[in-house]
């Protein structure tokens, strides 16, 4: 956690939402608000990061997340370089630090890193020179802080306040970096009740210690919820003997109109995407009146602009 903050408490890296003070989370959300307006102008650029170089280091492929980071950086007038690094089990290790050093020598100011291993962003952040910032775009199962932030931004936009909400996260929490980041954000921002709903095989050991209540039943878990967040179920989960089939999963844990009715009538439905229709969520719900899934995507750009601006500013102070 001190790795992320400077000695005077400013953000230096964004690696995880775990342990970040509430004031910083709020600062990011407030800053993102102002960037929303920029996105609605004809000239969607501001010159804040002009002359800065942002390198997208994606060790795990991703078009969506990488594209939003690229758009966000360009709207700040930064120069963006995309690197999709193919990974092979033998060369992974040496490659990372060598790659990072080479890019730093090319005057990189910021790295946006996505990697299949938990802790990869921390690893890189510990290694870079003091003037370089690292943004974690997803590391293994550990964290996806910008996604967590944009989900909070979405909740704030539609629900106003955090202090009186009941929020449920449904799905494969065990393997989800998004869920972990959401849990940290929700608890830090003061959401009084955070629930996770999943079969036992998809719940991490001791997850209660992160401040959540565990449910294995949708009806009980969704009762009285203001926000329902659905997580993607990856097909690989069937292979580890954690689930028998997508069909059985959908029957008990998929979000349908009937199950959504257990939540409050004005509850909003979120999904970090990409959706598996018919596996974790019914199309009727995904496209229905309570779904805020599409707006979530647009907020992602403003939130990432906010993060980059806060990291790049005052860097040489």
């Amino acid at each position: 956690m001190n790795l992320q903050l400077t000695s005077d408490g400013r953000l230096r890296h964004l690696l995880t939402l775990d342990g970040l003070p509430r004031a910083i989370l709020t600062q990011i959300l407030d800053t993102a608000e102002s960037f929303m307006d920029v996105g609605e102008r004809e000239v969607k650029k501001v010159p804040l990061l002009r002359g800065k170089s942002i390198f997208n280091l994606f060790f795990e492929p991703s078009t969506r997340t990488r594209t939003t980071f690229e758009i966000a950086a360009k709207r700040l007038s930064a120069d963006v370089v995309n690197l999709n690094i193919a990974t092979s089990s033998q060369t992974k290790g040496e490659a990372i630090l060598d790659t990072v050093d080479n890019l730093a020598a090319m005057h990189a100011d910021m790295f946006v890193v996505r990697h299949g291993q938990s802790g990869a962003a921390h690893f890189i952040a510990r290694h870079v020179a003091p003037h370089i910032s690292v943004i974690n775009a997803g590391d293994g199962r550990h964290a996806h802080p910008t996604q967590g932030l944009l989900d909070m931004f979405t909740i704030r936009r539609f629900k106003g306040e955090f202090h009186n909400l009941t929020v449920a996260i449904v799905g494969d929490v065990l393997h989800s970096r998004v869920a972990r980041s959401q849990i940290h954000a929700l608890t830090t921002l003061g959401v009084p009740e955070v629930r996770v709903i999943a079969p036992k095989t998809l719940i991490p050991t001791g997850v209660e210690q992160m401040g959540v209540k565990v449910y294995h039943d949708m009806e009980a878990g969704l009762a009285g919820c203001d926000v329902v967040i659905m997580l993607r179920l990856q097909s690989e989960r069937m292979k580890g003997a954690r689930l028998p089939s997508a069909q059985e999963y959908f029957k008990f844990f998929g979000l349908t109109k009937e199950k959504l009715a257990f939540a409050k009538p004005d509850a909003i439905v979120m999904h970090p995407g990409p959706m598996n229709r018919g596996v974790e969520i019914d199309s009727e719900v995904a496209d229905g009146p309570q779904s805020v899934i599409l707006p979530q995507v647009t907020y992602g750009i403003a939130v990432r602009m906010a993060v980059m601006a806060l990291l790049a500013g005052g860097a040489t102070a």
């Binding site: 400013r10 407030d30 800053t31 307006d37 804040l48 601006a309 500013g313 005052g314 040489t316 102070a317």
Partner: protein, 164 residues
């Protein structure tokens, strides 16, 4: 020190009187947050402008971002009119180095291409670092470099100038 600074309201009235003959019905007034907006609001009322008041937050256009970072409270810029071919009266409370006005102009041009921009300031304190000069000035006062002149708004809405 306060005794030597004039009241603000008469200054604004003076400004309004100087500006009025140059206005057209299509001119828009744009105030720069925060002090410039206070002054612009009064001018807008005094000059009976038909078009709504515009406000600019120049946080994203400052040239000292690398050094001091983002201001914690960025207010949204609000320009509820088309800028294309428009005559703009840009308003700020204190003109000092000129960098704020430069940032404001950069931002305005990101919205569109105005026909003209004229600058009205409540106080010109000297110390210009850029080739920017006001078209309308309420008060010209040489303030030493180590001092600041500030516009404040009291709870009752009254505006005052002070030196610090």
């Amino acid at each position: 020190m306060h005794a030597s600074l004039p009241d603000v309201d008469p200054l604004i009235a003076q400004l309004a009187a100087a500006i009025a003959p140059t206005l057209t019905p299509d001119t828009v007034i744009v105030g720069i947050h925060t002090g410039g907006v206070w002054v612009a609001e009064r001018l807008h009322a005094m000059l009976h402008c038909a078009l709504p008041l515009g406000t600019l937050d120049i946080s994203f256009y400052r040239d000292d971002f690398s050094r001091i970072g983002l201001h914690p409270q960025v207010k949204p810029s609000n320009l509820p009119f088309d800028l294309e071919g428009r005559d703009i009266l840009l308003v700020d409370d204190v003109l000092h180095s000129g960098r704020t006005v430069r940032a404001a102009m950069n931002e305005l041009f990101d919205y569109g291409r105005p026909a003209s921009i004229r600058l009205a300031v409540l106080v010109d304190r000297g110390g210009h670092e850029l080739p920017i000069r006001p078209d309308f000035t309420g008060l010209t006062l040489a303030v030493p470099a180590h001092q600041n002149i500030n516009l404040s708004r009291l709870d009752d809405g009254h505006l005052t100038l002070s030196l610090a």
